[in-house]
Symmetry: C2
Subunit: 235 residues, 2 copies
């Protein structure tokens, strides 16, 4: 099983999908057919989303086809060397993964070896649930259970910063509340400009350090370029 | 029907529940028995939450009892002159409103005249759904449908500001996505330090201006101390 889980697609002030290029280039090498999942965008924006993503992947020598334009998206997955799940709204993404039956099809295929790339919402749905998303719940989902490709939660776009002069909860307070309600589930706070590369039992962190949150323990900083087990037993 | 829907309890740097005092004092006058709903806090924090809220209401001449400490919370509601729903996490609040049967009991009683105060998550659950919350979905709810005491959504803690140097979506982008998926539902962006006072068909806005979002229209600024109809037909 191989996954590339990115916190985000684009850093402020940079071109779309600029920072991930060095990492994704290696990942898609000799895997030229990318099945793209644009469900995190509202329906009327999905065609445009594909055309935004296409040149980024073509620049890395890969070609993409979008599952939202396929009559049978589950069957179309057979033609893919990689499945790539884009960012946007995690609830919308998960709702349409359920609607199309892709929630099971993608999980099955990735467990059997289909490489998976996901950024932002696409990294969220690789987790057991989408309960550590930052997104607004703009649609109902049948459940918050997601692909469960990894045994921990990711909080993408992680930051300790808050809006100046604003009283709403910061990210660390929200995650502490998640842990209070879900005390056995660890959360990795994945900063913008960083990613996890999962290869079977091993995970490596690239780009920036991350913060690991566990119930009843102090947050732990994991340095970039560090390797650890997917069970987090060595952290 | 009478509701007081507050964006937030406390402004940065102020004492807990300081800014609402002038408004809430009038609302609880001659209504001294307040049934408090602390479900937006994690279970082990609820006793503490009541003790934090108690002096604020006692200072306004009212006394509170907490529905989480009642054997039969639905029945206990009969002893209340006002129901007050506190802030915290909207998903947790709504889950436990369903679990206790209070979701229906509160909606019924408020429609029949029981005055309602809610702040932050407590204002969110007065809406048709909790789909415009800013909170993290830390628990599953049976549905996102809420008390539906008003025919529009509120986004509490509304701000145009974002975290400096951070690529995550701003509030207006999130609300635009909500509207794209829910095009018939208006959203009021209620700023910190402001509230809506609903009296049957009339609503007045106090504290600060707000921003009204409707699908396919430019946002509309509503000035503070303005009155409008709950159907928003005069805006």
């Amino acid at each position: 099983m191989e996954l590339l889980l990115l916190s985000n697609s684009t850093l402020p002030g940079e071109e779309f999908f600029a920072w991930p290029i060095p990492y994704v280039t290696g990942f898609v090498q000799d895997r030229p057919r990318i099945a793209f999942v644009p469900f995190a965008a509202p329906e009327e924006q999905r065609d445009g989303y594909v055309e935004k993503v296409r040149p980024a992947f073509e620049g890395m020598g890969a070609s993409i086809f979008s599952l939202h334009q396929e009559k049978d998206p589950v069957k179309a997955l057979d033609n893919a060397d990689v499945v790539a799940v884009g960012g946007g709204n995690s609830f919308l993404l998960l709702r349409d993964l359920y609607r199309t039956g892709l929630v099971r099809a993608i999980a099955d295929k990735v467990r059997k070896g289909l490489p998976y790339i996901g950024w932002s919402a696409g990294a969220n749905v690789a987790c057991p649930t989408i309960m550590t998303t930052n997104d607004m719940p703009i649609v109902e989902t049948p459940s918050m259970r997601a692909l469960h490709l990894i045994p921990f939660q990711i909080n993408p776009h992680f930051t300790e910063d808050t809006i100046p002069g604003h009283g709403g909860e910061g990210r660390e307070q929200r995650l502490a509340e998640f842990l209070a309600l879900n005390p056995t589930m660890p959360v990795l706070g994945l900063r913008e400009g960083s990613l996890l590369h999962v290869q079977d039992d091993r995970i490596s962190l690239h780009g920036r350090d991350l913060k690991l949150f566990r119930h009843g323990k102090d947050p732990l900083v994991v340095q970039k370029d560090q390797e650890f087990r997917r069970e987090l037993s060595d952290l």
